[in-house]
Symmetry: C2
Amino acid sequence: MTTSVNGTAAGASGTRGRPLTRRLGHLQKPGSTVSLERGDGGLAVRRSVLPSGLRVITERIPGVRSASVGLWVQVGSRDERVEVAGAAHYLEHLLFKGTANRTAAQIAEEIDAVGGELNAFTAKEHTCYYAHVLDEDLPLAMDLVCDVVFDALCEPRDFETERGVVLEEIAMRDDDPEDLLHDAFLDALLGEHALGRPVLGTEQSIGDMDRDALFGFYKKRYTLPRMVLAVAGNIDHAHVMRLVRKQIGDRLDRVGTPVAPRSGRARIPGSRKLVLHSDDTEQAHLMLGVRGLDRHDERRFALNVLNAALGGGMSSRLFQEVRERRGLAYQVYSSVGLYADAGTLSIYAGCQPDRLGDVAGVVRDVLSTVAREGLGDAEVARGKGQLRGGLVLGLEDTSSRMSRIGKGELNYGDYLSVEQTLARIDEVTAADVATLARDLLRRPVAAAVVGPYAHADDLPSQVHEVIS
Amino acid sequence: MTTSVNGTAAGASGTRGRPLTRRLGHLQKPGSTVSLERGDGGLAVRRSVLPSGLRVITERIPGVRSASVGLWVQVGSRDERVEVAGAAHYLEHLLFKGTANRTAAQIAEEIDAVGGELNAFTAKEHTCYYAHVLDEDLPLAMDLVCDVVFDALCEPRDFETERGVVLEEIAMRDDDPEDLLHDAFLDALLGEHALGRPVLGTEQSIGDMDRDALFGFYKKRYTLPRMVLAVAGNIDHAHVMRLVRKQIGDRLDRVGTPVAPRSGRARIPGSRKLVLHSDDTEQAHLMLGVRGLDRHDERRFALNVLNAALGGGMSSRLFQEVRERRGLAYQVYSSVGLYADAGTLSIYAGCQPDRLGDVAGVVRDVLSTVAREGLGDAEVARGKGQLRGGLVLGLEDTSSRMSRIGKGELNYGDYLSVEQTLARIDEVTAADVATLARDLLRRPVAAAVVGPYAHADDLPSQVHEVIS
């Protein structure tokens, strides 16, 4: 029921396993199963491709008591025409409103009765429906996720009720300066390209949305070759496959071939350099940044190291310069966005309005220094350590494990174990980081501001300088 | 570096262990160690009381790769005089600014280098300093946590820099309508009592804060008998104890007796019924509620069931009536606050300003129906299921495990295993819930609103009716 942005970590983890195959998921023979990683107690990660084109990837984690199920659909806001902006997210809401088998209330009651979580999120390039339950409730989780994704009714009455809820969600985003800022920044950086539009759509597009058009979008886009089912936890691959056959067996008769991961090179029209949202906030919120790398770019590991050392932790350049040395802001950080054919590297800071000029000036100085000199060996080593630790520590719950394998399959088709990812991070050198910084940090800068400024002219000169 | 409110779940988890003792931590013989729970591979939860009065509680979790360390101090915002409101939280910031052994930058560098997390939060009744690291980095985590808590310098220069950061945090809270609303609601409900004051303090009190007074607060309050060290993960109790002796060995020579958990009965002066923060937000944000139970009240298990069924999940009364049937709000939920000698039961909703009257009316109707009739057997059963599942699913990472044992020791001294907690939930009957609802939901209601209303008179009549 929420939206999601692409996070910073490059596709991450299992634990101590070794890779067994590099066969790509979308090229794997339909009807076959392959093992991708061996774990502590046997086969840990396995993938089956069904004749229908549905891919099923599982990770068995001994010792845990839960299971996470996610159905990933390669449909997101970038697939919408501008008139129906927000359709993918609106649809995601609507699917929970009732199916051929259950009312919305029954869906909620069944998951609440076992204390599980059933939810979904929509991003620019995919939508994910997921459940997190005790291991013994895996059949119920599979049933509920498949029910909402495959058998939703999208009744006109529910469509109208849900319009109000989606409009509320837009209003809520507008009241959260950081969320609003993020959307404004992508608007500034990516201009008219579909990636630059908010996942939620606009009040206008949601107000105009037509039920039959949305239902058509559902029937056309939600096909098995566009889907990956990911399951992680105290589970067994063969058991999951039996449940898949039970839940969507008849649909599996339709023959299909998995859709390849998105890739290419986005053509992004010229964009605005600055977007200002005038708002009567206590803090001024600034995000600035450049176009970065796409997710298939091999330099993404170096980019993640650069990001960590630049603004990823308390010891990062930006945190030390802005907050620790000068106390100018409570929060300051950088982040990376990776899309199929484009990407972003951005910096956020929130501060008192009368300090915005100083903050923008310090950020600009840091970026130009790093573009010129790269980062010190110790900083790069710390950035690598930060990614290594964060990768493993971020995979303690089954939901994170499920996301790792599901998103990885949808985005790459290629399985990368945690060990392999760690090895790729280890290979990054200070020279790689310096070369990349020299390239990226000299690209044109776009910026967005949310704060108490009526016009762009009211912004401090340093904000204008950073984008000039 | 953040503030925290008391959450909803009654002290939770371990996994399959059985309790070995009910000895209270603050009455345990100094210099002794007891085992509290046996787990899958031997002793799982153990507690030592040192001659200094420091309590150390650990949970060994086989199969994980990480460790979480938390030093819990029985000092919070309720211990502040009104003139120094925010002192506990300001101090928590200051302790990271440098110690006798490390500069602030070195502290940040050492934790970032291993990809760990080092942070702290301040609540009304306690402050917690914690680290989450790979298991092999446990000695570093213990070293860093102990260094900032015991050896901070609180230099006047850093004190001034950090004042700006804390003021930024207040401004950030003011830009987050839900956070602001929460503080306003406690102000409305608990009036002049220290529990009703914001943890962050005010611009005034932070602006006036004096370095020497804060340093005095530190030296007086941060004593070993007020502290619990909790460690969970792939760790061994004896190893932890060796590290404790190494890190704070000399301090252990001072003899002390653990301070008993807070308890009693708060005398809360009469309070305002309504607090309005006029703000130019897109949504109107409403929180209303009553004084509830203290954390020692045996009815707290029934309260958690009531809370779950009333507004805890998608199938709850409030979610169904407000969002699903009528689409009036995106978010609506209830929550429980448990303090040593007081408590709250509250309801939140965010909606378009022109729907606020309808939302308040629906909430009022739901509350009066539940006060009169209680909840159905199926709803109570679902509420119990929700708590059971949520309890176990919420304990997958070592940080949650560490919090469970640390907070439990500080708040109760009495160890409750997950199995025992589950048993207490199971015992709750629909009649218990109905009796409690009849009592609590007829208490005087206080409310807070953040939204585009200049005066209380501008609020819809239903808001005034709900508190009348």
